[in-house]
Symmetry: C2
Subunit: 233 residues, 2 copies
Amino acid sequence: MTIADTNSWRGIQAELLRRINEREWLPGSLVPSEADLAIEFGCARATVNRAMREMADAGLLDRKRKAGTRVALHPTSRVVLDIPIIRLEVEQRGAEWRYSLIESSAEPASLALTSRLGLPRDSEMLHVRSLHYADNRPFLHEDRWINLDLLPHVRSVDFSAISANEWLIQNAPYTAGDISFSAMGADAGLADLLDAPEGAALFVIDRITWDKDRPVTAVRLSYAPGYRMNTKI
Amino acid sequence: MTIADTNSWRGIQAELLRRINEREWLPGSLVPSEADLAIEFGCARATVNRAMREMADAGLLDRKRKAGTRVALHPTSRVVLDIPIIRLEVEQRGAEWRYSLIESSAEPASLALTSRLGLPRDSEMLHVRSLHYADNRPFLHEDRWINLDLLPHVRSVDFSAISANEWLIQNAPYTAGDISFSAMGADAGLADLLDAPEGAALFVIDRITWDKDRPVTAVRLSYAPGYRMNTKI
DNA sequence: GAGTGGTCTAGACCACTTG
DNA sequence: AAGTGGTCTAGACCACTCG
């Protein structure tokens, strides 16, 4: 029928998606077992498994041993965001990237921060603030705290030559991270830096990364007004 | 060594991740071929493939035939967001969900919208606006346009009884979607509806869904101030 | 041309869960 | 107890792409 009706796993996946999309298989209903589908499509069971596993990962199917496979009741759409290095993000937009360091100094971190990170209160951390530009217009403000216990030699890095964002990606591996996205009104300081009116709505990303339960860095990225983060389903 | 050093694909993947995280394999460097790793781990090549494929999907490895596999230079972190039905999102926060329809009427859509959707200009679409509440406080404003050509019987749906969000998920399959996230200041109308000051920073999701190149619906979700979208890496 | 990853097979055993 | 998905194997052929 379709272009991909070879008995490849992609072709099978496309057919299964069709049956779900066209309501041939209703939400919540039991679908045939891998073995049966393998017979129907004339292929090995592993091929059917390859097709269905991805759909289960994507939340379209619910699979349980013995109980079999069902079409998911609430197909929560799963969105994948790629968060690149800021320099690359700017350059991908066809703009020229520029960067300027505002401040880099070791300071005792706030109680709010140390408690979130599980560090002793008043721990000294490296506070790095900088601005990233796209075509000489402010693009985002990076406000970062780096764990000096974990990365002591970061004290001697010259963050006017390389952005903290990029240095960390290349030098500080992490195993987990928490991210949150929100909207905030620009305070006077941010408004000035981003060349925006005070109170302007800013898109904000807060991220904390961990290396096996030890915090690496906490950062807030505040984008200049008008920024959109795009993706596809 | 580690807990999972059985020669399962998970164990192998953990070991590969360790080599990357601990800089045993440097970014950009060539890693052994699947065949060599299979010998090293004493398993079948398919098992190594299973471990590495996922890492390539996640952006940690770059794989090319003949050229081999390299550790990615810029490990762009990949974030997965689950976007559930709004009712479930509210209930998952432990709040009581309530919903109120503001408007539902067939109207000619703006040129901006019809051109984005690839519809004839002045096409009539169903415009549905509603408010979702969490514990009786405004949670988000849903402003939606539905393609009447594709879904003619939507005219007779009573959107005061079921939210457009939920009705569409259950009745209108889609095959693709564009999503964008941004921050916007609340205009007078939204401020009033969301019980927020005018100009307050709102987190906004714009989404257009398609069923094989035919637009299904375009929606803007404007969240009340303070909303955060959280996830993990 | 040759090396690498992409995929498929036929079979096997196991883990989990339900009846 | 039995059915289902999860995984692994040994082998095979193919597609791609680099040298």
